[in-house]
Structures are given as structure tokens and as C-alpha cells.
């Protein structure tokens, strides 16, 4: 009842001074709208930077064989035959939420032949997850299936460099048969060009086939060159590494005393670049947001302060007809809160719509997070109370006699 009365008093007082209330609100509106729009653009760019960095394979985990013999002649990793399909199965069995892709890798080099043309390249035997792990994209055709893997199907997917050299006339390779080490393979898919890797390696000089086919029909071996896995996110990369290590150690029956006969590698440098870029952007955005809201808050304080001085006689009158100090305090406080909340709501609407307009017209990536809306709204309500309190306190402490005679 009492609070309803005070709400009505504050509302009527605001209604009397629509323009001033609106101008005060403007500070909050612009503050909140700026925060939401900027957070949307900032988060959008952050996401797109992250995803383009992830496209470089930041989540990829590589498991390579390695000698654990401290003495003797050390062999190159690829000639060690310790990684087996059992290791892949062991990792698969973990069902870890930190790992979302797993593929064995068997590769061998040789001559690919198509009619009159031939090209020295490498055939890589993989499982269906490989494309996802390496962030490869099919330009045309289809990916081989798990069934193809089971059946040792003689199907393959070609990289652009291989196509350029085997099909120089530009004919469609899909459905054609090529030969690799005299084994015929049907081309079922074409990869999108990826260009050079960071180290100058041509990433398009590649033939992908089911690993079973490569193992049984070409290399006639049962060991793997390496295993590729991908972590769910950059952050889970470390956890995934530990899990994989433990699983492979167990599968290799290594005792506590023995060191690893394999190594697990992550893209540590890429990951740290991503996280430092992200946190820098976050700090920048937060700073901008904080400053905008602070200015809005100071706007409220300024106008409320002027308003107390300007309305001294009104306060005197209210007190003379029975308003207690706390009634006046509450009235001014409620006015400040009403202004900031209304301003906050309008600001949210304006911010969200301007973010969409920007993304529509400038084609910038945006991401409106609920947290930015909730936080900016709460902050503006809190600044309203915080900056409204001092002038309200001042008003409530006025002496009614002085206030009534105030000119």
C-alpha cells in the first residue's frame, strides 16, 4: 500500500517532467544499447576469429609411435611398429566427452596413374572421422562410409593437386578409376583446396582411402603410422591428451617404470594464441561496456542532483503536508530506478536491433549473448540506485522551512 503510493507519486512526478526524464534516460539508453551492440559485434568477431583459428586444426591431437629404448640405434618414428588398431579401439572405448573424433592413419607413397598421366603422391588410409578432424571439406562427391571401411572397399577421395595432375583436361574425376600401386580405386569424392600448410607442405597432394583398404591391399601391414584425434574444444585438449596417454599405455601394457613408447602432441601454440586473443577481446569489450554504463550512471546522478535543487520547493511542500524524510528519499530513489529500468529496457531493444542492423547492412558476424543483456540490465538498475541515492538522500534531509522558502 505504502509502496504503491510512493510508486504512484514517483510516476506522477516523472510524468510532469517528461522531457527531463527522457533526457536522463537517454544516457542509460545509449549506454545499454552501446554495450549490447558492441558485445554482440565483439562476441561475433571473437567467435569468427576462434573458428578460423580452429580451422587450422587447433583441436587436433596426434599420437605418434616413439622408441622407449634409451640405448641402441634410435629409429625414426614412422618405422616403429608399436601403434596398432587395438590402441584406437582402446581410445574409442573411453567414450570420453573430451574427444569427438578419432582416426587411425596408415600412409604410403607411390605412383598414382590415370590413363596417360601419372603423379607421385601419398595415399593415406583413414577412417570416416578424419575429414572432420583435419577440417577438410568435400567439394564434390561423397565420403566413404563405415561399410566401405569394413569391406576394404577400393574407393578414394582426391586432393586438388592430384586431380590437376591426373585430370589435366579438367574432366570430372568422380566415378573414374585411378590406379595406385596397380590397385584400382574408384574416385568417389573431391576435396576442397586447402593450399599450403604453415610449413610449406602442399596439403592438397593427397589421396584418402579407407585405412583397411590401404593396410590389406597395399602395405600389407597391421601397424599404424599415427592416430589422429580431435578434442571437443581447445580447453579440453589437455584432458583429452591425458586420457589418450593412459589408454594407450594400458593397451601397450606398460608398467609404471617404463616410459611411453609413443608421444601425444597437441597444437599448444595455436591454443594459447586463441585463448590470449579471446581474453584480450573480452577485456577490451568489458572496458568499453563498463565506461558506457558508468557515463550513463553519472548522467542519472547529474540530472537527479539538479532535479533535487530545482524541486526544492516541491520537496518543502510535500514535507509540509506530511511527507516524511524517508518518503521523499523513496520517491527520488524510485524515480531514479524507474528511469534506469525504463532506459534499460529501451536500451536493450535498441541495442539488439542495432546489432541486427549492423550485421544486416555491413555483414559483420554478431552474437547476442543473453548474459550481455542480463548483465547490462542489472548494472543499469544498480547504477540507478547507486547514483540516485545521494541526491535522494540530500532531498530527504532538507529542512521543510528552508525548502518552502527556497527561491
Amino acid at each position: 500500500m505504502a509502496i504503491l503510493n510512493l510508486l504512484r507519486i514517483a510516476f506522477l512526478a516523472l510524468q510532469r517532467n517528461k522531457l527531463r526524464a527522457f533526457l536522463t534516460m537517454l544516457g542509460i539508453i545509449i549506454g545499454v544499447a552501446a554495450v549490447i551492440a558492441m558485445m554482440a559485434i565483439g562476441e561475433g568477431s571473437k567467435q569468427s576469429i576462434r573458428s578460423s583459428l580452429s580451422g587450422m586444426g587447433s583441436n587436433t591431437i596426434t599420437i605418434m609411435p616413439q622408441s622407449n629404448e634409451p640405448g641402441g640405434v634410435r629409429l625414426q618414428g614412422s618405422s616403429i611398429q608399436t601403434l596398432k588398431m587395438e590402441d584406437v579401439t582402446a581410445i574409442e572405448k573411453l567414450q570420453s566427452k573430451n574427444i569427438n573424433g578419432l582416426s587411425p592413419v596408415v600412409s604410403t607413397s607411390g605412383q598414382a596413374i590415370k590413363g596417360a598421366y601419372n603423379w607421385p603422391t601419398t595415399i593415406t588410409g583413414v577412417s570416416t572421422d578424419y575429414i572432420k578432424i583435419r577440417q577438410l571439406k568435400l567439394k564434390d562427391g561423397i565420403l566413404f562410409s563405415d561399410k566401405d571401411v569394413k569391406r576394404f572397399a577400393k574407393v578414394c577421395i582426391l586432393g586438388q593437386t592430384v586431380i590437376d595432375n591426373l585430370f589435366p583436361d579438367g574432366s570430372n574425376p568422380i566415378g573414374q578409376i585411378i590406379r595406385f600401386k596397380s590397385i584400382p580405386f574408384q574416385v568417389i569424392g573431391v576435396l576442397e583446396a586447402k593450399g599450403q600448410s604453415n610449413f610449406g607442405q602442399d596439403q592438397d597432394d593427397i589421396i584418402l582411402a579407407p585405412y583397411t583398404t590401404v593396410q590389406k591391399r597395399i602395405t600389407a601391414t597391421n601397424y599404424l603410422q599415427s592416430i589422429y584425434a580431435s578434442a571437443t574444444t581447445e580447453a579440453s585438449s589437455d584432458a583429452a591428451t591425458t586420457e589418450i596417454s593412459d589408454a594407450v599405455r594400458e593397451s601397450h601394457r606398460l608398467t609404471e617404470a617404463e616410459s611411453d613408447d609413443f608421444q601425444v602432441r597437441t597444437q599448444a601454440e595455436l591454443i594459447s594464441t586463441i585463448s590470449s586473443t579471446s581474453s584480450m577481446l573480452t577485456v577490451l569489450l568489458t572496458a568499453i561496456a563498463g565506461i558506457s554504463l558508468l557515463i550513463g550512471g553519472i548522467g542519472i546522478m547529474n540530472i537527479m542532483y539538479v532535479s533535487v535543487t530545482e524541486r526544492t520547493r516541491e520537496i518543502g511542500l510535500r514535507m509540509s503536508i506530511g511527507a516524511r524524510g524517508q518518503d521523499v528519499l523513496m520517491q527520488f530513489l524510485i524515480e531514479a530506478i524507474l528511469i534506469s529500468i525504463t532506459g534499460g529496457i529501451i536500451g536493450v531493444i535498441l541495442g539488439v536491433s542495432s546489432a541486427y542492423l549492423i550485421s544486416f547492412f555491413l555483414n559483420w558476424p554478431i552474437l547476442i549473448s543473453e548474459s550481455s543483456i542480463v548483465i547490462s540490465f542489472i548494472v543499469c538498475a544498480v547504477t540507478g540506485i547507486f547514483f540516485g541515492y545521494y541526491p535522494a538522500k540530500k532531498a530527504s534531509n532538507l529542512d521543510p522551512i528552508d525548502a518552502l522558502r527556497y527561491e
Binding site: 500500500m1 505504502a2 503510493n5 504512484r8 507519486i9 506522477l12 510532469r16 517532467n17 520547493r313 516541491e314 518543502g316 511542500l317 510535500r318 514535507m319 509540509s320 503536508i321 506530511g322 511527507a323 516524511r324 524524510g325 524517508q326 518518503d327 521543510p400 522551512i401 518552502l404
Partner: protein
């Protein structure tokens, strides 16, 4: 009609200004009974305003007793004084002090907003009744800027009446008005007085004092004269005796 609304005994008020003590009221004793129409007169510096502030519970005496409708004002704190002003006193000011850009009705409702025991419906009904009693029934939704000075003062009187006070306290209520409008306001005051309202009217104009039933004259912080006005003038007749219009 013998109930004492106001009972003041040896009232003193001193202000300390720097190292000087200003004695604004030097011991005042009087009482006002229900139904009286008292004017308090005095030149500036006589302590009139100080007395008005104390009567209106805006200020407290330094010494002496003030009982308003049986309540000892001296023992009350700031908030209790506000409550007393809200329920027992109706203020009418020289400058009307209406809220700008606010309808007459809402202006009149204002004191009741600060009284928790009154519902929104009752608030509105009482405000309407109050405006009717000052003959402004058809001006409910007019804002102060759409009303003449006399009408504004009548809204202010309606506001003073709305909380059913034991006393209406007017501070130079005719000071901003021309003679004709002043008389109209005084006629309204006399009517309210006839209906039983106790009125305390602070003024420095002797012709206004003539409309009251009793005049207290202050001088240098003391009561110089406290006289019953046996020959109360009727404001209505005074109004009729004014020339029809002196505009030319």
C-alpha cells in the same frame, strides 16, 4: 465548542547565529478553541513567521509548551511531526505551492498519498468533495497554469481541507491576490469557519484581520494585543460593496 485546539504556554524560540543569540519569540501564551477564526498580525521581525512555523509543526520551540489537539509537539521526532502535519494541519501558502503540470484533483489528493490508511478510492472521493466545497467542481482536470490566481488558491485550500485537519493554517494566503480575489478567498474562509473549521490566518493586512473573530498582534516576539473582534465584517458584503468593475 469549548475544546482547545491549540494550547501554548510561555513559548520561546531562540536562534543561534554565530556568537549571537536571536530571541525570536520571548514567551508567548495563548490558546485557540475549536471554531475560532484567528488572525495573527505583526510587522516583519515581530516573530510572526517563527510562530507560524512552530504552529505548523515545521519547527519546535526552544522552551515552553505547545499542545496541538492534545498532542505535546515538543516530544515528537521529525517523522512524528510529519505525521502530525499530515493529519491535523491544513496548510495554505502565499505562493499556493501547487505542483505544476498536475491536475487540480491530483494536487488535492497529494496529502492523502502520505496517509497509509486511506485507500485510492477514498482518496479520490475526498479530493472531489474537497474541490466541490471550494466551488471548483468543474475544474478537476485543469492544471495550475490553466487556473487564475484565486482559483489556484482555492485548489490549495481544497488541498488543506482534504485531510480533515483540526486547523487550517494560512500564511499570507491573500498576499499575491488583488482586493476582489482576496475578499473572495476570505468569504470562502468565513464559510468554512461557519461550518466549524478552525482557522489561523497569518497576515499583515489590517483589513483582512477585520474578517476574523479574533486578532493576535505580535511585536518584538511578544503578544502586544489579543482581542476578540466583536464587529466581524462579512467578506461577502465587502465583496458586494466593491465597485462592479474598475477596469476602463
Amino acid at each position: 465548542m469549548e475544546q482547545k485546539i491549540l494550547d501554548i504556554k510561555d513559548l520561546k524560540r531562540e536562534f543561534v547565529m554565530g556568537d549571537q543569540t536571536v530571541r525570536a519569540l520571548k514567551g508567548i501564551t495563548f490558546d485557540i478553541k475549536a471554531g475560532e477564526f484567528v488572525t495573527i498580525m505583526g510587522s516583519s521581525g515581530s516573530g510572526k513567521t517563527t510562530l507560524l512555523n512552530i504552529l505548523g509543526c515545521l519547527d519546535k520551540p526552544s522552551d515552553g509548551d505547545y499542545l496541538l489537539d492534545g498532542v505535546d509537539v515538543k516530544s515528537l521526532n521529525r517523522d512524528e511531526l510529519a505525521g502530525l502535519r499530515n493529519t491535523k494541519i491544513g496548510f495554505v501558502f502565499q505562493a499556493y505551492n501547487l505542483l505544476p503540470r498536475t491536475s487540480a484533483l491530483e494536487n488535492v489528493e497529494l496529502p492523502l498519498f502520505y496517509n497509509k490508511s486511506i485507500s485510492a478510492e477514498e482518496r479520490k472521493n475526498r479530493a472531489i468533495k474537497s474541490l466541490e466545497s471550494v466551488k471548483l467542481a468543474e475544474r478537476f482536470d485543469h492544471t495550475p497554469s490553466q487556473l487564475s490566481g484565486g482559483q489556484q488558491q482555492r485548489v490549495a485550500i481544497a488541498r488543506a481541507l482534504v485531510n480533515h485537519p483540526v486547523m487550517i493554517l494560512a500564511d499570507e494566503a491573500t498576499g499575491n491576490l488583488d482586493t476582489r480575489t482576496s475578499y473572495e478567498i476570505m468569504a470562502l474562509m468565513q464559510e468554512l469557519n461557519k461550518e466549524g473549521k478552525t482557522i489561523v490566518f497569518v497576515t499583515h493586512e489590517p483589513d483582512i484581520a477585520a474578517f476574523s473573530t479574533r486578532t493576535i498582534m505580535l511585536r518584538d516576539g511578544k503578544i502586544q494585543k489579543d482581542s476578540i473582534n466583536t464587529n466581524q465584517r462579512s467578506a461577502r458584503e465587502a465583496l458586494d460593496s466593491l465597485p462592479e468593475s474598475d477596469d476602463y
